[in-house]
Amino acid sequence: MGNEIDGFALGACVHAGAMGKLFEVTGREAGFPMLMKVPILDGAAESAETLLAFETEAMILPRLSGTHAPRFVAAGDVSSVPYVVIERIAGESLDHRARPMPAAEVARIGAAIADALHDIHSQGVIHLDLKPDNVILREDGSAVLLDFALAHHRALPDLLAQEHRYAAGSAPYVSPEQVRGSRSDSRSDLFALGVVLYELATGHLPFGVPRTLAGLRDRLWRDPTPPIAHLRDIPPALQEVILRCLEVDAARRYQSASHVAFDLRNPDQVPLTERSRRRMSLGFGEQAVRWWRARDVARMAIGSRGDEEAAPVVMVAVDTTHPDDPRQPDLQRATRRILSLSREFRLICVAVVSSPIGAPAASEKDVQLEHRIRLRHWLAPLEVEAERVSMHVLEAADPGNALVEFAGRNNVDLIVLGAPAPDERALAWWRSVASSVTANARCSVHVVRRAPRSSPVNGDF
């Protein structure tokens, strides 16, 4: 009996499911605890599918980087000893947590999952089996996604494309487009996230546990009972986020996980629509209309979308301390030009005000309000729809650092900020902010300078 495979010593079996077993293993210096996943292939008709799902995970994990998926260590030869050794993430999966949870906790966990989804989506991977069993929260509050057996990688052949069965326990979380056979839309994960948020917030599943295909097809039209009908104290902003994730039509959902994370972290900035005010499911008439429409939707060709780049988060840093600075129109023009390149952007406007140590606390609120008003006026000429914008006033002694940190926390794709020209010596302070942001940001930075005023004819415009 082998209790060693390819140099890995097998320890305790920590999980035995229908598809495979998980063992603790030691023996190679990975620098972290390891698990070995072995598929159960008993020659049954499902074995071929089990093997394919197993291979899918073994193919995708080594191509994922970052902290939101278990690290890959090794894989065995599929035709002789199929196994995969991965990082063992400490902690219990999310399905062990008591629910309903307080709204703030739901938002915190939801934002962590959304961050994780954003990370894998930007690496071209769609999870397609998000549920509480497949999420572990690390001690620092960040989320790790487990089980990529049903996942899709943009640059790899999807041999699961024709499989229409779902792993046990996944049916409550599956998106409408997955029911129709699509496996290439990253917004499917946002639907599943909506189901998870709903479940954490209310203790109920929005669509129950369907046991038949007909039950699953309900998802093509059914509108869930609003969370607030289960629990009175669900905040409207949380209901808005959940119901937007659960839109049947993917085009009406959030278009990027980073946008979901942002709204969960900034509930006061969530524009409330009719979704936040629903008290009960749509009336019979409206449901009947949706059901009728779903008959056509089911027959329609499935669109595919998996492009996070189409929905960027753009952050513009505005110097609200000098609202009349001649560089402001240049910054506005640059921002407008950048936003015109994508329809699904999210714009974060940030002002940084210095917070002198020992400033009287009483004035804090006035300072915040004053700068928010200036931000709003700065933004007005750009005519951006309210639901795409949020405004923030950061108080920090080190503005460059504050901007970089804020951008990192909010999955910002591009920072836009102004900088003085090399000969404008008086503005050394701004130059240092721009150069520190450019050097330290983890995303792209667009530095805006005034056009050179060399022509004598032309003053300002």
Binding site: L52, M59, S79, A155, L156, P157, L159, L160, A161
Partner: protein, 246 residues
Amino acid sequence: MVLALLADIHANLEALEACLTHARERGADRYAFLGDLVGYGADPAAVVEIVAEHAARGAVVVKGNHDAAIAHEDGYLNEAATAAIEWSRAMLSPAQRDFLEMLPLIVREEGACFVHASAAMPERWDYVDSAGAAERSSHAAGRPYTFSGHVHDQVLYGADAHRRMISFVPRPGFSIPAPSHRDWLALAGSVGQPRDGNPSAAYATADLGRGSITFHRVPYDNLAAAAKIRAAGLPEVLAYRLERGV
């Protein structure tokens, strides 16, 4: 071992040289030419010469429908193609014509099958342009790997749990795991006349020991190749296709 797969060169010397250099830089130590060495382009003799040298050193070479048309009139080719074949025939030496004439339609090795069109009746030049056609060709090939051309696009078909072929459009330069316990059919794309709107030459490399396939796009001097076509008095459309990659 890195195997370079070059299909549909179509007498485009500039594209062939660019792909061979590219493949050499990636460690290619074996070559397979998947048919249609000639037709359309302005350098049939030089291309056949290079391929014949590779064949003498052990490269796999199979016959394409344009190669077959050099010896036998083919009623299926369009007007421009027929004009190019007639012109090419005159440009080739008797030895080069013999080389084309003697090429096999299909080559089966231990783990792989090489054929210009479909391995199910290669002489019919059927296009492998659907999952069903890929399934038929792969089954007829009887090997885990089937490598073909004829369809000028790059496509990888892989067998799923029920041995149905799933089609996939590869991203250039990204190594795709293709383990040999499944069946795979790769269309290498066209070296000498790509038609997907990107004028770069297309070919693929495979590492069968490791079970991986990588598709490549290689920029080459397509304007020079197009100019030669015009200078030779071949139909204008053939030059235009190289300029635009259509």
